[in-house]
Amino acid sequence: MESTSKGVTGMNEWPLWEVFIRSQHGLAHKHVGSLHAPDAEMAIKNARDVYTRRNEGVSIWAVRSSDIVASSPGDKEPMFEPASSKVYRHPTFFPMPDEVKHI
């Protein structure tokens, strides 16, 4: 795609961005959706206007959708099934003393 100095593409469609918001109480940014924007700065501003109008967040990340590397749904079996038969990996076999709260 042809770009000018400010990153506005020569095509009619702006690139797609994925938006992550950290809420007031949350520690981690969570994926909330996607939007179109001509460049990174405008992606943040659009995300502010589209996804934080109702006080949803205190921090925004935006990343080009094309930069996200995803696992393939077709690889589900080799990727995830080997873990499902290994219950001993869950820390559920330790007796917890009664005095320990909030675990």
């Binding site: 400010k6 506005v8 702006w14 939007l35 924007a37 001509p38 700065e41 206007d49």
Partner: protein
């Protein structure tokens, strides 16, 4: 004119510019170039509408003070006055045009708005200072956003540059009014209530020059300024565009007086 009437008039100037620009931005609803812009521009309009309500509410209270307790409500002030009673800047009543025109109008206004609100946060009138401080937070974002668009369209494609340059050229003649000080404002400046619009011209120009230079736009020059000499929007003298706009904005309250949601 006594002090309270002077203050009332000044508060209408603040309220009306916010209201009229909010109405113009509202005209973009459902017509924005992309969904994200539709929402963002409307957000700015809603911010301005909220600010106009704060000014109108205070204006109504001030009016009650010199009018035997009969101060008009926000709705009455917004929907039941005719064009000649509106005190907004002529800049904000100009039609939306294409997106470059909308953003040029917004940028000229935002830079002025931010500077004047900053001045008003030091007003001797505590209520004005309070409203200005609240509005300033919203307006700082407005300025960033419209400046971004001026830069992107100015330094974008050949067509966007041509349109942006035409837009800033066409609207330039309405920018002089923002820095005019008439007898009403002078009285309030002396009382420490209003901010001296004359002092905003230099910092405004500095900001505009900086953004235009980044946007590869030429600053218009040698243009006669509309509304100079105390005959502009702030004195109720308007361009032909305000009438049709008010008709659209006010028809419901005119047809069904006192109608509520």
């Amino acid at each position: 004119m006594n002090d309270q009437r002077t203050l009332f008039d000044y508060l209408l100037r603040r309220a009306d510019s916010d209201l009229v620009l909010a109405q113009r931005l509202g005209e973009w609803v459902g017509h924005g170039p992309v969904l994200e812009e539709d929402i963002a521009t409307t957000n700015v309009g809603l911010d301005l509408l909220g600010q106009s309500r704060l000014w109108f509410a205070y204006a109504g209270e001030v009016e009650a003070g010199f009018n035997n307790g009969a101060g008009r409500s926000e709705d009455q002030l917004a929907f039941l006055r005719d064009a000649a009673e509106f005190r907004n800047l002529m800049l904000v009543e100009q039609p939306n045009g294409d997106y470059a025109v909308t953003m040029a109008r917004q940028f000229y206004f935002d830079v002025w708005h931010e500077l004047s609100l900053r001045g008003l946060t030091a007003s001797a009138d505590a209520r004005i200072a309070e409203i200005a401080a609240k509005a300033l937070k919203e307006v700082r974002y407005h300025t960033e956003r419209s400046a971004d668009w001026v830069i992107r369209l100015g330094d974008g494609t050949e067509e966007s540059h041509r349109r942006m340059q035409a837009a800033v050229d066409d609207l330039w003649m309405y920018t002089g009014e923002m820095f005019e000080v008439d007898a009403i404002e002078l009285a309030l400046i002396d009382a420490g209530v209003a901010c001296d619009a004359g002092t905003l011209a230099a910092p405004w120009r500095q900001r505009v020059d900086a953004i235009f230079s980044e946007a590869t736009l030429t600053v218009p020059a040698g243009v006669w300024m509309q509304g100079s000499g105390g005959r502009g929007g702030k004195q109720g003298v308007h361009t032909e565009h305000i009438g049709p706009m008010l008709a659209q904005m006010q028809w419901l309250q005119r047809a069904y007086p006192g109608a509520q949601w």
